[in-house]
């Protein structure tokens, strides 16, 4: 079965999704600076194309696992923005009633099964989700998002080995932004690409540019079709640019600073907008409509979050253990 090609409707959906993520995160940076959102926040500006290109092809019953930089994945998978916003504000109307926060977003209804703050800790859990699908015998697929920093950790090697050994319907999606927390890939390993790390296992893998959303979409579509038959794993390595620092407030954020022309080449939104305009998939006005709609949704989400109260200690204490 050949992978499908991007069409106008899909391109518009991907653009709308990326703008929702971008506007949400830009506002998040401001809210964090103004202390309306507290705690540890990691933004994914620059890698929205991976979240959109992957998650928009998944069903609610397909599982994704994410990590500390999860906002984009979760929004693209279908989690309602107002509840994501309320979660980051620590309110009871949040996805996780305000107990998880930015790094631990879970939305079971939309297949967001877990996000971990321990780099790479999500990898074996995702393999477990894929094993469940295989045992059950359906066509569900599990996707795990991780950065190139996770690859040097032991859980990556263990998971890849088992996923290959048991041929699990697992799609590994690496956002290789060349930075592991605060330091560059060159300081962590001598292996250039993550695809090279898994090469001995022989499963299908490829490297794509993170700003090339049609390519991400197409490559993932091909893997998804195959994984739906209950086999795998696959690795999609996306070379992305991390526009902001490791976390909001990172004093070293400026080391990544690019000028506008350089950034435009690495910006998945700018790249897809240009292509979509050239192909006649969108007009200039509709691009502006997408950003305006995203802004309005973010405004509504902030109002929704503000209207909710934090959980009470008595309510939270009931959630430590599952009760019969």
């Amino acid at each position: 079965m050949a992978a499908q090609r991007l069409d106008a409707g899909t391109a518009r959906d991907l653009l709308a999704t990326m703008w929702r993520i971008r506007r949400f995160e830009e506002r998040m940076a401001t809210l964090h600076q103004r202390l309306l959102v507290h705690g540890l926040i990691h933004l994914s500006i620059g890698s929205e194309g991976v979240a959109a290109g992957v998650c928009r092809q998944l069903r609610d019953d397909d599982e994704i696992y994410s990590g500390h930089r999860a906002h984009g994945h979760v929004l693209a998978k279908g989690a309602p923005m107002d509840r994501v916003m309320a979660e980051l504000m620590g309110r009871s109307a949040g996805l996780c009633q305000g107990l998880g926060g930015s790094m631990h977003l879970v939305d079971v209804e939309h297949g967001v099964m877990g996000a971990t703050g321990v780099v790479g800790g999500n990898l074996p859990m995702a393999a477990g989700g894929a094993l469940a699908a295989k045992i059950r015998g359906g066509d569900q697929v599990t996707v795990v998002f991780f950065g190139d920093g996770a690859v040097q950790a032991g859980h990556f090697a263990e998971t890849v080995n088992l996923a290959a050994l048991w041929e699990l319907p697992l799609i590994l999606v690496c956002e290789n932004n060349g930075m592991a927390e605060f330091t560059t890939r060159a300081e962590h390993t001598t292996v250039d690409s993550v695809c090279d790390v898994v090469a001995p296992y022989g499963f299908e893998r490829q490297v794509v540019e993170g700003a090339d959303v049609p390519k991400i979409w197409r490559a993932f579509n091909g893997y998804l079709e195959k994984a739906r038959t209950g086999t795998g794993p696959f690795l999609l390595e996306c070379k992305t640019h991390r526009r902001r620092g490791h976390y909001e407030g990172d004093p070293l954020a400026s080391r990544n600073a690019l000028n506008d022309a350089e950034w435009a080449k690495l910006d998945p939104i700018a790249q897809l907008e240009a292509l979509a305009t050239k192909r006649g998939w969108i007009e200039e006005e509709s691009a502006q409509e997408l950003t305006a709609a995203a802004d309005a949704e973010v405004d509504r989400a902030i109002a929704f979050g503000r209207a909710s109260e934090p959980l009470t200690p008595a309510e939270a204490s009931q959630l430590v253990y599952a009760r019969p």
């Binding site: 599982e63 696992y65 949040g94 996805l95 996780c96 009633q97 305000g98 107990l99 998880g100 631990h104 879970v106 939305d107 079971v108 099964m113 877990g114 971990t116 321990v118 800790g121 990898l123 074996p124 859990m125 995702a126 393999a127 477990g128 989700g129 894929a130 094993l131 469940a132 699908a133 045992i135 059950r136 599990t142 032991g154 859980h155 263990e158 998971t159 080995n161 088992l162 050994l165 959980l311 939270a316 009931q318 959630l319 430590v320 253990y321 599952a322 009760r323 019969p324």
Partner: protein, 326 residues
């Protein structure tokens, strides 16, 4: 109908019965059922009974993912210490997901491992490291000390909707005892009074339960009536049962195979000091392993461990009868 079988057979019986009862129960781990002739493989097939490579992080992490997806995995980990290489999954993922997700998910899984094999297995296969797990909110920890409890606590662990660390004691696996046939459940969180008594409370776990009972017999000959309580699980910990006993006896000795500062004894002592101080007629006494790595040498191994003589000696001390029998 109960009949006498070994502790290890009781554990295996519970696993087989739970797998037969519930299709979502899976069993995998290192060296599990290496042959297709294995009775579990024969009964339940290779989808549900799997051999895994030596990859504790992946084995336990996959169990979390399976549990989130609706299965009830039992992971065979052989030695409690082997969980140490996967502590992120054991203590930082499995027990926290329910809470961090605001109660959206449950994580029913059993981490089955042996512990306390102080029979020449030296420094890394002998630890009683249960408080590393018992201190983590969201985890449950059970320590069966009899064949009947080995079965009943395994069945309850499999049916529990939370991650349970099931620690079987390697010095007890060949001990025989009466075990009910068919369904047998022991509630997690309920202590057992192994021997009723009025003069002193001895709380003991796992292998030290038998040592405490031996001490109680010796003390009975001296006219001391000791009560022996086995908490059976450390998380949840049945403090009401312990406090009730201390209220009756006024004296408390805690026997524990763990090293003193990582012992369940130290946790129970703190709880009794805070909530049962008014009942105490003498200071609490802890009889634990010394704060040392378990040595290989046989006499040194015995030196660092608690035993029935040390427990009886501690009882005499708290009762103020030590000099009378010395």
């Amino acid at each position: 109908m109960a009949r006498e079988i070994p502790y290890i057979a009781a554990v295996n019986e519970a696993i087989a019965q739970e797998m037969a009862r519930d299709d979502t129960v899976l069993f995998y781990g290192q060296d599990v059922a290496p042959s297709d002739e294995d009775p579990l493989v024969q009964s339940f097939g290779r989808d549900r009974v799997r051999v895994s490579p030596i990859s504790e992080t992946a084995e336990i992490g996959m169990a979390v993912g399976l549990a989130l997806a609706g299965y009830r995995p039992i992971v065979e980990l052989l030695m409690a210490e082997f969980m140490l290489v996967a502590m992120n999954q054991v203590t930082n993922e499995a027990p926290r997901l329910r809470y961090m997700s605001g109660g959206q998910v449950k994580v029913p899984l059993v981490l089955k491992a042996g512990y306390g094999f102080t029979a020449g297995w030296a420094g890394q296969h002998t630890g009683s490291i249960y408080t590393m797990f018992a201190g983590i909110p969201g985890l449950k920890v059970v320590l069966p000390s009899t064949p009947a409890d080995a079965k009943g606590l395994m069945a309850s662990a499999v049916r529990d909707d939370n991650p349970v660390v099931y620690l079987m004691h390697y010095l007890l696996v060949l001990e025989h005892g009466d075990v009910p046939e068919g369904e047998h459940l022991v509630p997690i969180g309920e202590a057992a009074v192994r021997r009723p008594g009025n003069d002193v409370t001895i709380v003991a776990t796992g292998w030290t339960v038998g040592k405490a009972l031996e001490a109680a017999e010796a003390l009975a000959a001296e006219g001391v009536d000791a009560e022996v309580i086995d908490p059976r699980s450390l998380q949840p910990l049945d403090m009401p049962a312990i406090l009730t006993s201390v209220e009756k006896t006024g004296h408390l000795v805690l026997a524990d195979q763990a090293t003193r500062h990582a012992s369940a004894a130290s946790i129970i002592a703190a709880e009794v000091a805070e909530h049962g101080f008014g009942s105490l007629k003498a200071p609490i006494k802890l009889v634990t392993a010394l704060d040392a790595t378990i040595p290989y040498s046989e006499p040194m191994e015995a030196f660092v461990l608690p035993d029935e003589h040390k427990i009886a000696g501690a009882v005499r001390e708290v009762l103020g009868t030590a000099s009378a029998v010395a």
